[in-house]
Point group: C2
Chain length 349, copies 2
């Protein structure tokens, strides 16, 4: 039985959910997936850090209170974060990177990824920053050291859109994609269809935990823009940076706009899309679009996300599912590890 | 560069489209997928057969007229089918099986699959019969001889639902699925929403080539039942035969039923589904169901197919796309070959 030693960077909802899954499912995974996971280190800006090369108790970790310096209360724990030490000295085979997204330079997450990959430690991440801004160099680095860099959770949480396009649509010739890639803004638009205006819909989303105190990144399309960059670079051979993607959010959509759309049996959706043009260049944008009722994305309501890939051979393929959620995103990390496990068996590395 | 020698059984729309793709795309595939395909034999009940171990001209094959015994007009061709000879003596590495579906015993397709697998020749098929009725024994046979048995095209043509569930949802714990798995019946139901009654909607589907002269298998749910058997056995650990699946079609749905549903913002859909029950047993059925507007399957119109997998960890994941079509189904065969290619690299076999 293969056992991977894993270090967790960031211990908010996602890696905490992963720890809980490890506590609950390791035995099942041994049988079903062919491996188990052993947590050997955790570092979190707020909770502190902890290392044990012989393995930490996943259940105990998952139950640590969300109070400042809480890791101090565990044996071998400290109130101080120690990302570098956890990456370099915990003997991990894998690093699960789930710190906050910095949309400007991807730091410090990108540096964490580099430290791990340089040592030949594979990285799985749910963090859009390193992927949107530095995927190419991180993938090259991984290749050089025999490590793997996987990032299914950077788009649509655990809903397997990246691997679907990469592996299952190989040969279908993807020419274009368009998606509802942000749950908050889609929830706001769905709420406005019940008669709320934009401000009230945002307030409702905040109340229900779908929107942050500052909802700008979600409703102005900045979050979607990073995802468009990730997908366009990965599947259309683009080399986009966020500033290459025109970006308009939903804050100008009025209750009247929504009512009018409903009357004409159409729906406003915040769409992130990219397309390969005849001359080989890529056109990419984020903008509110009025979708006719029979568009595969028109029926996607609430916090659900969805994406349609257009292909030459197979026509359009649409996938919808969770776009966020702690366990849903932790599953993305698990699915990345499943993928690495398969590749390791394959190459014997 | 890996070159696979492939034999085609059945040369209706699907394998003819595959031949056309080989003619058009081989060069691209060498670069993109890491292999090329060389057709070494074809057998068809109506057109006859042809073998050339050094490779047949794919473009010429794709252009053969659809007249009885047409292969006779090609060098080395014959007006007689010769399935066994093509399987056993064409030196093929792969057999693409796309003959007609026999829902009672899966023959003669199952025997064709056996002949190939016994010789260690991998089989890719779009044929529901052998998969629904004999998947377990064919998979065991393949394992014993080091061959592969792949059947993505048996459900939803090239839309990659089988591999999505098998590979990308590994670890997500699928508990249930429900799908719109037959394009003809869904087209009929969609047409009835424009005011046609059942008989007129069927006639329209026949006119447009969506329904066969005898539409029974499609509108009475028999086609969906085979697909439910395939999916339940593959993903829920069931051991179902078609008679285990209760089956009711759409022929009793009236124009009034449809109008009433529309009034209450719901839609009738022919749903194939299966569910793992608390006691571990499997409940599976095919029946018309009234879906509320916000069901992920409610918006799936016309000949499009879709399936929702319910999972413990990730919630529901829905995929929609082509459910039929020559090139769409030929892509399923290609995607099976991509998968086999990856496994061959992995095991070195």
């Amino acid at each position: 039985m293969t056992e991977y030693k894993i270090a967790l960077l960031g211990f908010g909802g996602v890696n905490r959910a992963l720890a809980q899954l490890i506590a609950d499912k390791n035995e099942r995974w041994a049988y079903e997936l062919g491996f188990t996971l052993k947590i050997v280190g955790v570092s979190d800006l707020y909770l502190g850090s902890i290392i044990n090369k012989n393995g930490l108790n996943a259940k105990e970790l998952a139950a640590v209170p969300a109070t400042q310096g809480a890791f101090r209360t565990l044996p071998t724990g400290s109130a101080e974060p120690a990302n570098e030490t956890v990456i370099r000295f915990s003997d991990a085979d894998l690093v699960a990177e789930a710190t906050f997204t910095n949309p400007v330079d991807g730091e410090p997450a990108t540096t964490f990824c580099r430290w791990a990959l340089e040592k030949g430690i594979s990285v799985v991440t749910t963090n859009k920053g390193p992927v949107a801004l530095h995927a190419e160099s991180l993938k090259k680095l991984a290749e050089r050291t025999g490590a793997h860099f996987e990032f299914e959770g950077s788009v649509m949480s655990g809903t397997p859109v990246i691997r679907l396009a990469q592996e299952l649509l190989a040969g279908a010739e993807i020419t274009e994609f368009k998606g509802i890639l942000n749950g908050t803004s889609n929830f706001v638009l769905s709420s406005m269809e019940t008669g709320l205006d934009f401000a009230d819909a945002v307030a409702k989303a905040q109340e229900l935990g779908y929107a942050e105190a500052d909802p700008t990144a979600d409703v102005e399309g900045h979050d979607v823009r990073l995802k468009v960059v990730i997908l366009a670079n990965e599947f259309l051979g683009a080399k986009l940076t966020p500033s290459d993607v025109s970006c308009k959010g939903i804050s100008q959509i009025t209750a009247d706009d929504i009512a009018e759309a409903t009357k004409s049996k159409a729906r406003w959706k915040l769409i992130g899309s990219a397309k390969k043009l005849q001359d080989g260049s890529i056109s990419a944008s984020v903008s509110p679009q009025l979708l006719p009722q029979d568009d595969a994305l028109a029926g996607v309501s609430g916090a659900t996300n969805a994406i349609t890939f257009s292909t030459n051979i197979l026509g359009p393929v649409t996938v919808s599912g969770a776009g966020a959620g702690r366990y849903e995103t932790a599953f993305a990390l698990l699915s990345d590890i499943v993928s690495i496990h398969k590749k390791k068996i394959k190459t014997g590395k």
